[in-house]
């Protein structure tokens, strides 16, 4: 009784404090978790980039002697008209001649009256021309409908156009090559070359420099002629050419799109934020390599390439090809945009990696389910053989039609497949457990468990919903960030 009079005793105090601490621990756990999820520091590529800290995944134990793509036949280089943008550019030049000039080709004239190599391409891909025609019709509708959406997407469009500004026109950086590679790639190269201690030193130096220029990921690959386009050479024009002997190595690097806007694709995202960063990195790296005495040539987005980037990046050990055709890297997932420098600088190439992405894509299919165009295959394994390589391949013409269908001012992309990819996740403890455990699990159980959670727990709008009415409802994968919502800043 005496004890009660004194109030709470020591033992009860400890029990009470223990219970209170338990509650505070759970509250702290919730706060720490929320902070880890919402922290912008966990958005790879927009913070610690310059110090190489974005490339945090240790690839050493996943190195393999052969990349995960499968060569099953005779390989060949890529005809430039096999690239959608180069092909469509050629078609537009034929169909939309300058003022006062008659078009050189109309749909009514049929495939047989197209010039080579377009004729051969469309004969081999008959559905592609029909899809191109559809994309032109959709582009017209997109322009007509834009006034309805202009105010809602004002900031997103302005943001995209701002990022596109350093890419377009005469002031674009890096400047386009002038003349054949044997001249343009050597222009500005300093002649007094110091002897490099070793190719390994060269690779290490170049990677550090490229990181400081802003690249999140950097890898080195020997240039494989199969990845070099044929039939068009910047600085020269349409021509068949041998792969220049000084294109010995490629420095491949990657940056992500800004994450919040990327998750709000298709209408709030854009491609040019990453493209413009890549072009600045490439242009500066080209100058740096020339300054230390070696030839260099930038290959930059959106279309200024002589080499296809994804297979080059796979060779450089940055990642593996995904079902959606885009490279998936452990750090950035599918939110990986690529550029490269070809050079004769002696460099030690990296090895390709196998972190189980290809196997995961066999099962996942989320990108195929969410693709508004139906361009991504649902097959259980890659079935298409492209130039001798069995790999995932999308219907690029269908994909482009959706670029011309979503509620944007012009065909500036869709990127839904990048946003919904389970690998496109933040650098925080939750996703890092998945990153580190899944590739080390030989049974595949972890991958199956993660995929089941991905499909059951996460909300996906569904393919058609990304399209404007009446086909869809202009959905985005995640909600747009406030800084891109016009209604947050302007009276609508």
């Amino acid at each position: 009784m005496k004890k009660k009079d004194k109030g709470i005793d020591r033992r009860n105090f400890i029990k009470l404090a223990g219970m209170a601490s338990g509650g505070l621990l759970l509250g702290g756990a919730a706060g720490a978790g929320f902070s880890a999820g919402s922290s912008k520091d966990s958005y790879t590529g927009w913070g610690r980039t310059a110090y190489g800290k974005d490339q945090f995944f240790n690839r050493k134990s996943f190195e393999v002697d052969h990349p995960t793509y499968e060569q099953i036949g005779i390989t060949r280089r890529i005809e430039y008209v096999e690239d959608l943008f180069k092909r469509n550019g050629e078609m537009r030049r034929l169909m939309f001649a300058g003022a006062g000039q008659a078009p050189q080709w109309r749909f009514e004239q049929g495939i047989e009256s197209l010039p080579e190599p377009l004729k051969s391409y469309y004969e081999a891909h008959p559905g592609a021309l029909e899809e191109f025609e559809k994309s032109l019709l959709m582009a017209r509708k997109q322009r007509e409908d834009w006034p309805k959406y202009r105010n809602k997407y004002l900031l997103a469009d302005a943001y995209s156009n701002a990022h596109a500004s350093p890419i377009m026109g005469q002031g674009a950086f890096p400047p386009a090559p002038q003349g054949p590679p044997e001249e343009s790639d050597f222009r500005g190269v300093k002649t007094a070359v110091l002897k490099l201690k070793s190719p390994e030193h060269g690779s290490k130096l170049i990677k550090m420099i490229t990181h400081t220029f802003g690249a999140s990921l950097v890898g080195i690959a020997a240039v494989k002629s199969d990845w070099v386009y044929q039939g068009f050479l910047r600085g020269v024009g349409k021509t068949d050419f041998e792969v220049p002997v000084h294109w010995k190595n490629a420095i491949v690097f990657a940056v992500p799109h800004e994450w919040d806007s990327m998750y709000a694709n298709p209408t709030y995202g854009n491609s040019y934020d990453a493209y413009s960063r890549l072009r600045f990195i490439a242009g500066k790296l080209e100058v740096f390599v020339k300054e230390i005495g070696y030839a260099a040539r930038s290959h930059v987005p959106p279309t200024s390439y002589e080499i296809a980037m994804p297979p080059l990046a796979i060779d450089a050990g940055l990642g593996e090809q995904g079902r959606h055709g885009v490279i998936i890297t452990p750090e950035l997932g599918a939110n990986t945009r690529l550029a490269a420098i070809t050079t004769n600088m002696p460099l030690e190439p990296d090895k390709p990696i196998d972190v189980g992405i290809k196997k995961f894509c066999d099962k996942c299919k989320i990108c195929a389910e969410e693709c508004p165009s139906g361009a991504i295959s649902f097959s259980d394994k890659p079935e298409t053989v492209i130039r001798g390589y069995k790999r995932w391949s999308i219907d690029q013409d269908k994909c482009y039609t959706v670029w011309n269908s979503v509620a944007t001012s012009h065909s500036r992309g869709c990127r839904v497949c990048i946003a919904v990819c389970p690998y496109s996740r933040k650098n925080n403890w939750l996703h890092n457990i998945a990153r580190e455990v899944d590739p080390r699990d030989p049974t595949g159980l972890v991958a199956s468990g993660l995929l089941a959670m991905q499909k059951k727990f996460f909300k996906y709008p569904g393919g058609q919903e990304y399209l404007p009415p009446p086909d869809g409802s202009n959905q985005t994968y995640l909600d747009a960030p406030d800084w891109l919502k016009t209604e947050e800043w302007f009276d609508l």
């Binding site: 033992r11 400890i14 223990g18 338990g22 621990l25």
Partner: protein
């Protein structure tokens, strides 16, 4: 927590460390009062359960922070229910 503060972050984790100590002191007192005998493997199970519960809470709220509200709710719902069932089983094991 407090990722943009060089001061509050360490303070937060120091406080969390103190709460862990106080919590287990309180728990030990509670178990003793209820005359639940404990040994090393029982403590191991209890600590493991507590860590797992902590991870479930952090995981769910991490997803909330990522703007994946639905995923966070499912995460808490599924794994939280699982932890509750395991917790009841563990309590019955301790009191057996």
């Amino acid at each position: 927590m407090f990722p943009y503060s060089t001061f509050l972050g360490p303070v937060f984790w120091m406080a969390m460390g103190a709460f862990v100590v106080i919590f287990f002191m309180g728990l030990a007192a509670l178990l003793k009062d209820r005359q639940i005998p404990m040994n090393w493997w029982k403590w191991l199970l209890v600590v493991t359960w507590c860590i797992m519960l902590y991870i479930v809470v952090v995981g769910g709220f991490t997803l909330f922070g990522e703007n994946e509200t639905r995923a966070g709710l499912y995460f808490l719902g599924v794994f939280g229910t699982f932890m509750a069932v395991v917790g009841v089983a563990l309590y019955r094991l301790l009191t057996k």
